[in-house]
Symmetry: C2
Subunit: 255 residues, 2 copies
């Protein structure tokens, strides 16, 4: 399993991905799922992957080698794409092609060929953009009204993001929201776990990528987790008791 979230807000971009993979609960490993595919002054492209690891790894390998353009035959690479839209198309083609090559054999083995990716970055003077690529190669773009995209085990950690993240949230606050979202997910699904890879870049031209790996036992993440737990507990206890069955605990005395 995997959980990755990408947030695209006015201040910039934040991506957080876990590193846990599993082929059954008896075969849990650690693989990097957040990759920097390009990182220069003219071009920054990051990708996070979810789903069948052999397919997403192969797709990244194929992208590195380059794909022939179906019309011109010319080899296309991320380093030559003229916009993030073209990057998303290229990644979509690589993912679809890789999946298509193995899907029948995987289905015969009853192994899931489901895959998805987040691809984000900037080419030239473009604004930062964030896409979610599906296994069929199609994709959607992140928009201001819902300034985030998730892949993998998305549901446990989604309510806090829905409540808290807006276009105007600061980068550090967005990162904090992402980490709370991971904390909820890690508690409910064993197959998502640290280390967590973080990546962030400001929206201003010339901003540089920052990345960091949060290891197990990281003091800030442990403190966040503890504070969040205590605060939720406190918040819940502050809410009055439901009026519907008052004294239902003592039902045996009143009935």
């Amino acid at each position: 399993m995997t959980y990755c979230i990408g947030m695209l807000i006015e201040a910039g971009l934040v991506i957080v991905a876990d590193t846990r993979t599993n082929a059954g609960v008896d075969n849990v490993s650690r693989y990097r799922k957040l990759h920097l595919l390009a990182n220069g002054p003219e071009r920054m492209v990051a990708a996070a992957t979810a789903g069948n690891l052999s397919i997403t790894q192969s797709a990244l390998g194929l992208l590195e080698e380059g794909l022939p353009n179906p019309e011109t035959g010319e080899i296309e690479k991320i380093e030559n794409a003229t916009s993030m839209y073209r990057v998303a198309q290229l990644v979509g083609r690589a993912l679809h092609q890789t999946r298509d090559a193995v899907i029948e054999a995987l289905e015969a083995d009853k192994v899931s060929a489901a895959v998805s990716m987040l691809v984000a970055g900037r080419v030239g003077n473009e604004r930062l953009r964030l896409f979610q690529i599906y296994g069929a190669g199609n994709f959607i773009e992140c928009q201001r009204d819902r300034p985030y995209l998730q892949i993998g085990e998305a549901k446990y950690g989604r309510p806090i993001v829905d409540r808290a993240l807006t276009w105007r949230t600061s980068l550090d606050e967005a990162l904090k929201i992402a980490l709370i979202s991971f904390d909820s997910t890690i508690r409910s699904n064993l197959a998502v776990g640290p280390p967590l890879d973080l990546l962030s870049i400001g929206s201003a031209a010339g901003s540089q990528v920052r990345h960091y790996r949060i290891e197990s036992g990281d003091p800030y993440f442990s403190d966040l987790s503890e504070r969040w737990s205590v605060a939720l507990n406190h918040a819940r206890l502050e809410i009055p008791q439901p009026p519907y069955f008052l004294s239902s605990d003592q039902v045996e005395e009143t009935d």
Copy 2:
């Protein structure tokens, strides 16, 4: 879609279910999914359903008519079952039989035949028991270490339950936790919505079932939702900023 949660704690049993069904987003209706199948001094059985509505409704209909015992041919009904374990077996048989009768036709129409149920209650002097029944008729029983079971859209609302509910939680507090769990689910999935049906019974012998329907705009539920939102926001703002990319918002000034 559906979300139902059953909580079995020392103090008793709480079940909450929504009432929204949909066949595509353009065909949303309201159906009761929480049913009292028996409610007398000797026997109380409640059931909540999720999945294909035609199958779960038919299974409830079949249970009312009774199912022939596969060995003796005798007609078995919930009102004659000698324990909650027998009730769970009977409900499992009804669900499996009903699903089996239509699964091929549904699959040909690419309609999901997935179904599940929560079945809870007490027969005679037994303790309260809670089961989750799968479409194949097999089932699991709720246990003290994880004193709840969910069916339907379970993930959005699960983190708060994992954090807060224990065997020692009071009935009213458990109901509050269930309602917070519903609040998170309703925010993130349009296909889960009010009215919500509540049912509760104390664990002491002679306790009576209480039920209530929370309608849209219910003052307590609206207040709970508002308070929870405000408290989460406050809790999040109280957590210090992540130290990983300090001043990343101002990256354009420092790079």
